[in-house]
């Protein structure tokens, strides 16, 4: 299985996965980087590319930890709580708490939304279904 997404971007030999599939879009990544930096800061293209690689590695790293927990507990589905747990377990405590609140808020809204649908109320306008 893929255990090294590193190296230059010309390395496309990752289980047949195309580059655009294994990385998050550079525009999105670059935008988040830009938002946190001072207005006069510049970001080299190479550092955005490196950040793309780092984020994918982060996702894999945390997912593996979460999925290992599911395996131990004989559960098939990795859920939001597992992700929060994995983050805390791997040292990302600062993320785990705000994300747990985010997750609970999300779940509350989900329950509200499905309750409203059951009653025949139309939900607030949503964006498209997405990919």
């Amino acid at each position: 299985m893929v255990d090294n997404i590193g190296g230059s971007s010309s390395n496309a030999e990752n289980s047949g996965m195309k580059e655009q599939d294994r990385l998050l879009p550079i525009a999105n990544v670059g935008r988040i980087m830009k938002q946190i930096l001072p207005p006069n800061a510049k970001i080299s293209k190479e550092s955005k590319e490196t950040m793309q690689e780092c984020v994918s590695e982060f996702i894999s790293f945390v997912t593996s930890e979460a999925s290992e927990k599911c395996r131990r507990e004989r559960r098939k589905t990795v859920n939001g709580d597992d992700i929060c747990w994995a983050l805390a377990s791997l040292g990302f405590d600062d993320y785990a708490e705000p994300l747990r609140r985010y997750l609970h808020r999300y779940r509350e809204l989900e329950i509200d939304r499905s309750t409203n649908q059951d009653r025949g109320n139309s939900p607030p306008t949503r964006g498209g279904e997405g990919s």
């Binding site: 984020v55 982060f58 809204l109 964006g127």
Partner: protein, 121 residues
């Protein structure tokens, strides 16, 4: 994959509303999750949504730390070496050391030398 339209602004703070409720594409996140291991079978709908936020926090933190490196080098342009230095200086980013060292090991070696003077505590 369902986009959560009701969550615009939910704890999003400064996240740009122009890109929709989440700044990162959920389907792509899900693909990357699936590729992370053989035993990743099923992923709940909420997991990519949580990751979207987690990745944002991750990018922000790594960017901030890298920027400190750039400033120390008296530069206003973030370079790859700055990311490498930040990774080396931060314990929780140890999983990225191989990744940032893969190309340009010469740059990384000098980064390791510089980093010893930085105190993130």
């Amino acid at each position: 994959m369902r986009q959560a339209g009701a969550y615009s602004g939910l704890l999003c703070g400064g996240v740009s509303g122009r890109t929709g409720p989440h700044s990162l594409p959920l389907a792509r996140i899900k693909k990357i999750m699936k590729k992370s291991g053989e035993d990743v079978k099923m992923i709940s709908g909420e997991a990519p949504i949580i990751f979207s936020k987690a990745c944002e926090l991750f990018i922000q933190e790594l960017t901030r730390r890298s920027w400190i490196m750039a400033i120390q080098g008296k530069r206003r342009t973030l370079h790859k070496e700055d990311l490498a230095s930040a990774v080396i200086a931060t314990d929780i980013f140890d999983f990225l050391i191989t990744l940032v060292s893969n190309s340009d090991s010469h740059e990384t070696t000098s980064a390791i030398m510089e980093v010893e003077t930085v105190d993130f505590s």
